[in-house]
Symmetry: C2
Subunit: 273 residues, 2 copies
Amino acid sequence: MDIESYWIDKIKTTHIGDDGAVINKWVYAMDAFWEDTHFKKGWMSIEQIAYKAFIVNLSDMVAMNATAKYMLITVAFPKDIKKKKLDRLSSKLNALAKEYNIEIIGGDTIGSDKLGITITMIGTTKTPLKRDNLKSGDIVAYTGTLGTVKRDLDRLFSGERIEDSSKFYKPELRIDFIKAVTPWLSAGMDISDGLYCDTNKMLKCNNLFMQELKVIPKEIGESGEEYEMLIAFNPKHLNRVKRIAKLTQTPLTIFGKATDKRQDFYPCGSQHF
Amino acid sequence: MDIESYWIDKIKTTHIGDDGAVINKWVYAMDAFWEDTHFKKGWMSIEQIAYKAFIVNLSDMVAMNATAKYMLITVAFPKDIKKKKLDRLSSKLNALAKEYNIEIIGGDTIGSDKLGITITMIGTTKTPLKRDNLKSGDIVAYTGTLGTVKRDLDRLFSGERIEDSSKFYKPELRIDFIKAVTPWLSAGMDISDGLYCDTNKMLKCNNLFMQELKVIPKEIGESGEEYEMLIAFNPKHLNRVKRIAKLTQTPLTIFGKATDKRQDFYPCGSQHF
């Protein structure tokens, strides 16, 4: 068990498990984006760091079918950081808050060698999308195309540059699709640790297994930080789900069917470096 | 202007200013407790670090007259941290959550050279205690005794040990006093940056000054991280406030009177190291 799973296991909570905690129509999520945990110096501009820190939190809201309303931001930066850099960081965060109609309501600052942003995001939902309602027989699918983030991360690690349009910098959230499709889904979550790991998580918390309908190669299954959506639904909703995917221009790949017959899980190591 | 104030100034929010943000009877606060920002290696046991990270957040709730209900916790620790240390950290946080009837609903982990805990605390209040209702003529007072934290911090910096009972390790929150006295207060906040700085903050956000009724020496005025309460109230409530202080065994020191007549503010540097 990796150290993060060990920690989560030790903390007593009834809510950890979903992308966010749901309490009376409110959804809470807290995610950090931190130098040397999620990115290395030189990989990203300060604006790209701000964007990614924001979007991984927004992804939790989308994955829970919630609309983000408020956020608290704690930023770690060196004491000798240039004011111009702070201006760029705050401008980007302010612009994102404005664009998504989210109010920044608090936070903190830390003196640190490493740059890091921790955000708590708070949203509302009438119909939360959870991951524990998966039923045997449900179709399992993912949105978009997977694999480019792993490819781009490999490139960054080997010192190459990647395109500004890379999904490592700019994940594509499926806001409209999830809003429209949630009533027909039995389970959903974002793909942050990779399709293999995240599918396993969804199956395990429902005590189910999966019959593979499409072979998922390693370069797709092990690509983390995709922030596409993993969804599951009763086969009777297939046409409706497909129609909503088409209307919202969301590529959808069906790759499995949940089953209570024991099967091997996907191989799943720790995806963080 | 120090770098933290510069940052806060740049982030667009209508809520930063109080110890927490109030939205529809809910109060939100986020505070970090981080190695080399708030403590140095060797100063504290892992339990003391957990306690302090928790209590500085709880202090924000108390200062807003809110009852904490939920929290999200992000922890930074080295990848090679011993599981036993993680067990001690999680045990302490779980025990504190239980003791104060707070549910841990989420969080994140970060790989880091430094140990750090960032908490978002969420509480409820029917009568939030804000800092922007101070009126000219109001009496300004603080709870408890101030000064020992600065003394103990100075000792820690010079390599000495301090008592386990030090208020640097164990701030004394004024939960019962604030709950009972809030209806009679015009303003209140916790003393985290020191009495000088925090009094100035309260005065400035109300465009008021202070007539000093009692001289506050430097060793008291510049002692930060006290987490005692700074309060203000109309003189007509003096006896009632004094009675509640007595009932809840809360030492109370009246040291000033708010005025609209221009006076010099206290000297106030940055209190964080």
